[in-house]
């Protein structure tokens, strides 16, 4: 059972949240120029690491807001939580 620190509400039980999967997937800047393989990569291919993963969560049964979490997929340890639009930790986000 996870205890997730919502950036707005503080630590709450996992049952209040829904997970939205991999974070920082960028919309293709020029969709018309994309081939089938690039569309497949954008729509379906996912990072599925055994270790640190950046993902989106929504405090669905709380404030209702989305935010980013960096979590280890083996230990479930949450390394950091940061708001939507903030750069990932250790990167300038450009």
């Amino acid at each position: 059972m996870l205890l997730i620190p919502c950036p707005w509400c503080g630590e709450r039980d996992e049952s209040e949240f829904t997970c939205g999967g991999e974070a920082h997937i960028r919309r293709p800047p020029d969709p018309d120029a994309l081939g089938d393989a690039e569309w497949a990569d954008y729509l379906f291919m996912r990072a599925n690491p055994k270790g640190a993963l950046r993902e989106r969560w929504c405090h669905a049964h709380g404030c209702g807001r989305w935010f980013n979490v960096e979590r280890d997929t083996v230990t479930h340890e949450i390394a950091t939580v940061y708001r939507m639009g903030d750069p990932p930790p250790g990167e300038d986000g450009s």
């Binding site: 049952s15 497949a40 379906f44 055994k50």
Partner: protein, 418 residues
């Protein structure tokens, strides 16, 4: 290398010797430096692939590499349910092939897999469920697969202990029933395939973790493992929850997310539940094992995980649903609870086929329902590896479907919403 046949006579003979002289069911060989085919993953699907490579295609120089122990992953962690009541033609044909192979498997492998075709019920709890189930049943019957609709009285006749009164929050309005569906002993499926593959010359190498895939000029040449380098002309990846990790070693990205799916068993009780009962709406599926334990499955955890530990939130929902359907179970105690790592595709259908790397084949994405497909998956995958092209049964399940858009949406086929 034919092993001693199991029979009533060998049982009697070994009973006289106090069961001290049974031969080993399979060897535990040191890996050789090279093989024609190396299968990564010694679960049911990998072992079945090796068996059918030897039996159907005459390829005996095969290794199955398993990082832990044989059948110790999802093969030994599922709820053992077998059925072929899938909506779309592609799935129906593949799962029905598997069910047909299961029906002859004990005899073929000379190993009792304890297949019990006791019937699988999928419950409907509202008018929409009923319409959806009757659509499914008709589609399934058009594919020549047995399936029928039961009204609440029919459900009550099949499973008298179900609460079919109008009082539950989600009352039971009917069910679909596949009478040929049922359960089998999951360990026995792995052991039976292992013994039969070993008898045909396949090396089953346990405690051998693959740490790298060697690719030269767009073609696989071998594997780096914790027991040294093993050269192989062809490599099949059959690693379920760890498929993404393995594929990354060959530079491939997969449309797979790994999640925990958990199950539990109760203390053993006298026979009370004859069928397998599944409910999509309230998220639980249950059968009673020959030992008398209830085997109870649930939905999967909603986030990526490799931990093999499920969340208590799921346990709570699963038991709540069970007790609403079967008030008689309310005072049962649970014996064990565990999790497995399932590999889930966006369309809830598997990937069985070739990869962009020559000589590298992949069989994954079975998600929450791979056990029922074990023999059919191995059969089709062995064909794909041996012939270097998919069989008609698994051609629709190629990795390329995510680029072509020909997805096979089977989200509704699972017993629970995922």
């Amino acid at each position: 290398m034919t092993p001693a046949r199991y029979s009533i006579f060998s049982l009697a003979r070994n009973a006289l010797g106090y069961h001290r002289n049974w031969p080993r069911a399979w060897r535990s060989p040191e890996p050789r430096p090279s093989y024609d085919v190396a299968i990564v993953g010694g679960g049911g699907h990998g072992l079945a692939t090796a068996y059918y490579l030897a039996r159907e295609h005459g390829i005996h120089n095969v290794a199955v590499l398993e990082k832990g122990w044989l059948g110790g992953g999802n093969t030994g962690r599922n709820t053992t349910i077998i059925r072929s009541n899938y909506l779309w033609d592609e799935s129906a044909h593949l799962y029905e092939k598997s069910l047909k192979l299961y029906e002859g498997l004990s005899r073929e492998l000379n190993f009792n897999i304890m297949l019990s075709q006791r019937g699988v019920l999928n419950l409907a709890h509202n008018r929409h469920d009923l319409k959806e189930l009757s659509r499914r049943v008709r589609a399934i019957r058009l594919n020549g697969i047995d399936s029928e609709i039961l009204d609440p009285e029919g459900v009550k006749a099949e499973v008298p202990i179900l609460n079919t009164s109008p009082s539950p929050r989600y009352p039971i309005l009917g069910a679909s029933l596949q009478r040929r569906g049922g359960i089998a002993r999951h360990d026995a499926v792995a052991w039976g395939f292992a013994r039969a593959a070993d008898a045909r010359g396949v090396d089953i190498v346990q405690n051998c973790e693959v740490t790298g895939i060697d690719v030269a000029g767009g073609r696989v040449t071998g594997l780096e493992t914790t027991r040294g380098r093993i050269a192989a002309k062809k490599i099949g990846l059959v690693a379920a929850g760890h498929s993404s990790v393995l594929a990354a070693m060959a530079g491939l990205r997969l449309p797979i997310e790994s999640h925990t799916l958990q199950a539990m068993v109760s203390e053993p009780i006298k026979p009370v539940l004859h069928s397998v009962v599944m409910s999509n709406a309230v998220h639980v599926y249950v059968s009673q094992s020959d030992k008398g334990e209830l085997v109870i499955g649930a939905g999967m955890d909603g986030y990526n995980s490799y931990s093999q530990r499920g969340s208590f939130r799921i346990v709570e929902a699963q038991i709540g649903a069970l007790v609403e359907l079967f008030p008689i179970f309310s005072r049962l105690r649970m014996l064990r609870q565990w999790g497995g790592i399932v590999d889930v595709c966006p369309d809830a259908s598997p990937i069985v086929g070739k990869t962009p790397v020559e000589g590298l084949y992949i069989n994954c994405g079975w998600g929450t329902g791979g056990f029922k497909a074990t023999p059919g998956s191995g059969w089709a995958f062995a064909h794909t590896i041996a012939q270097d092209r998919p069989h008609a049964l698994n051609a629709p399940f190629a990795l390329e479907r995510f680029a072509s858009g020909r997805l096979i949406d089977e989200h509704g086929a699972a017993a629970v919403a995922h």
